[in-house]
Symmetry: C2
Subunit: 399 residues, 2 copies
């Protein structure tokens, strides 16, 4: 018998942070914070001030009063709070897809002569599509890892794909379906042993799982900010390049924001010597400000405390799903799972739609998955309880 | 002797539209609306509603309640109001730089076998840098047109650069410094006669000058939305691909938003048969909503009425600058100029800084230009008068 949710909420050291978010009463249980995080109240206030006072009031002067530096300064804040990365290696820019594209070219540029890119066949589609298109453009071959969905990319599978032809490996830190958390230190080290570089897609781990990019010698990383960072729909992504690669790395979209002196309007292009060389065009100021608010909230709480709550939430949810006899696909060992839980059900799509009609909001993923995302700062145990009750009711499982 | 500004304001049929914008009293004259447009009050309201009710209230459901379609639906609205383009050819996405990059690859993809890209050496830096990098990546040669700043790209100069090796031409419709308005119909037709395709960069014309992409058979176009479209700092850009190219065109950043069915999470990539194939990653919803508000304001007024006011404003400004003996670089013939005016002065940088200190805000452009941007919907003749008086005072010219 699991502990009652009200007891768990009363004992939750992060319970008060739920008040930092707009919680709408018409939502019985929001179980999709890993697709789109809730709105922090501070972000709503900050965006309102930004629109009327900064854009409306300062107008073009805003660029010289701090906007220009935002991609790098907020990148540094995010790196410190979430990524275990020193300053000067991270920017906020573009979308995750555009950044994956840049990093695939960047990774290939530091391993010239090598002919293969390695990726997991169960990766999120945009990762796979971009690896294929960059491979075609550069005349490289894609080596596909074919993992089991739950075990995902094991050291054995990666070993089978690596060779002295491997230029770069792209892996998702937490699988977008199973929530499997890969062994970042070990897989990074293995990749380096083969003389290749690694790109970690942190979309489903950033803000939920502690990450130590510098300590593990990660080469490149990318992630999105609208999930656990709560920066809003289509908020700009982040991108990390280890300092040791900055001199040598090139990226394909060499717009004016990547130039050494962008306001010199120089006749010939010279890439910035800093991480700004990974930028391209004018950055979305409001979007980056929302990222900054999301990062500051996480920094205030601390990623370790967030991870502890995340593990407790997913553990509670899995226990309840087990009791109901529903098929949980996500790893049972908390050390191997991220912040969401996947249920497999033949009527997954219909169940998801029915739940949404009842104000319980999970996510559906092809072909037969119901994804339950628990956002440590805004999800209460009571909310998980309400969601599970509704799911059991709709799925017709044993209570 | 020019007509007094209060008389001109009283007779201005668009004068009332100034009230649609936030006008801050600490700004004496805002003469940089072509770098960053003022904030429309409706946009401030709409963004506030979007943040609290749509993101905060609807959460992930927003994507299925209209957000997913925004890149295309707002693209269509913009195309109808500003571009003279039928639906299905325009999207709102990414930054201008990223879109120029995509279109250069796209243009080359529909002219395989041809070996040259043509661009004007006085183009805005991001255009030049991207042409160089795409040419390098694809093994193409850049043919540089070397125009006089004011006459800019004449048919004679373009003729000298075109050959049966030309794959694509990239030209700016209105020059970012001189404001020279190029002959889009003629230069497009010339390019086609050489068997090449053309990309028009509309950054400095969109929202100020009527554009007829379909009627002129333009192949590709791109432009930004934070200038005359008033969509805010770093708002997403637009991109146009003529319908006749949609089947054949490929673009390099093949993220999940460009796929035929992005939620199918398909094993193999298939490009969307629609203009959506030009998208890459998750679009910035708030940014696109701000574009939509900017477009709707322009649609309400009508681009022809906006152009008439723009011509009247720049004519008035040039007369005043001439009276003061300042050196105006912008074309005198209104048919050959966009919505801004450039003054050349050896102390341009110092003068600009001094003016900003007085609440008069122009733009400085290397090496010796003061750029005065007049936004037809929000700039009054009184404001231009105040700006000119301050400029004369600071520049020490004859009053």
């Amino acid at each position: 018998m699991t502990t009652p949710p009200d007891v768990l909420d009363a004992a939750d050291p992060l319970a008060d942070f739920r008040d930092r978010f707009l919680i709408d009463d018409d939502v019985v249980a929001y179980l999709d914070g890993n697709s789109l995080g809730r709105l922090p109240k501070a972000t709503a206030d900050r965006l309102s001030t930004f629109v009327t006072r900064e854009w409306g009031g300062r107008l073009i002067r805003g660029w010289s009063e701090g906007w220009v530096e935002l991609p790098v300064t907020v990148g540094d804040e995010l790196a410190a709070a979430l990524l275990g990365a020193a300053p000067g290696q991270t920017v906020i820019a573009d979308s995750t897809s555009v950044n994956i594209y840049k990093l695939l070219h960047a990774a290939a540029s530091v391993r010239p002569g090598r002919t293969e890119l390695v990726i997991d066949a169960t990766s999120f589609p945009t990762d796979r599509y971009l690896v294929e298109s960059v491979a075609t453009a550069r005349g490289l071959t894609v080596r596909w890892i074919q993992p089991d969905l739950v075990d995902n990319v094991t050291p054995e599978l990666l070993a089978g794909a690596l060779s002295d032809e491997t230029a770069a490996v792209l892996l998702g830190h937490v699988d977008y379906r199973s929530a499997t958390l890969l062994d970042l230190p070990l897989l990074t080290s293995q990749t380096h042993d083969a003389g290749a570089v690694i790109i970690w897609d942190l979309c489903h781990s950033a803000g939920a799982v502690p990450i130590a990019l510098d300590d593990n010698g990660v080469d490149f990383a990318v992630g999105c900010t609208y999930k656990y960072l709560n920066a809003g729909p289509g908020a700009p992504a982040f991108l990390y390049v280890a300092e040791r690669h900055l001199d040598a790395v090139t990226q394909p979209i060499a717009g004016w924001w990547s130039a050494a002196d962008m306001f010199a309007m120089a006749e010939t292009y010279e890439a910035s010597p800093t991480i700004a060389r990974m930028l391209s065009g004018t950055p979305p100021v409001g979007g980056i400000i929302a990222v900054q608010e999301g990062v500051r909230l996480i920094a205030e709480v601390g990623i370790d405390a967030i991870r502890a709550k995340s593990v407790a939430l997913t553990t509670y949810l899995i226990e309840r799903l087990d009791e109901a006899g529903l098929e949980v696909v996500t790893p049972r060992d908390a050390d191997h799972r991220g912040g969401h839980v996947i249920v497999r059900h033949p009527r997954a799509r219909e169940i998801t739609l029915e739940l949404i009609g009842r104000g319980v909001i999970p996510d559906y993923r092809e072909p037969d998955f119901i994804r339950l995302g628990l956002s440590p700062l805004s999800t209460s145990y009571g909310e998980v309880d309400a969601g599970v009750r509704a799911l059991i009711d709709v799925a017709g499982a044993a209570g």
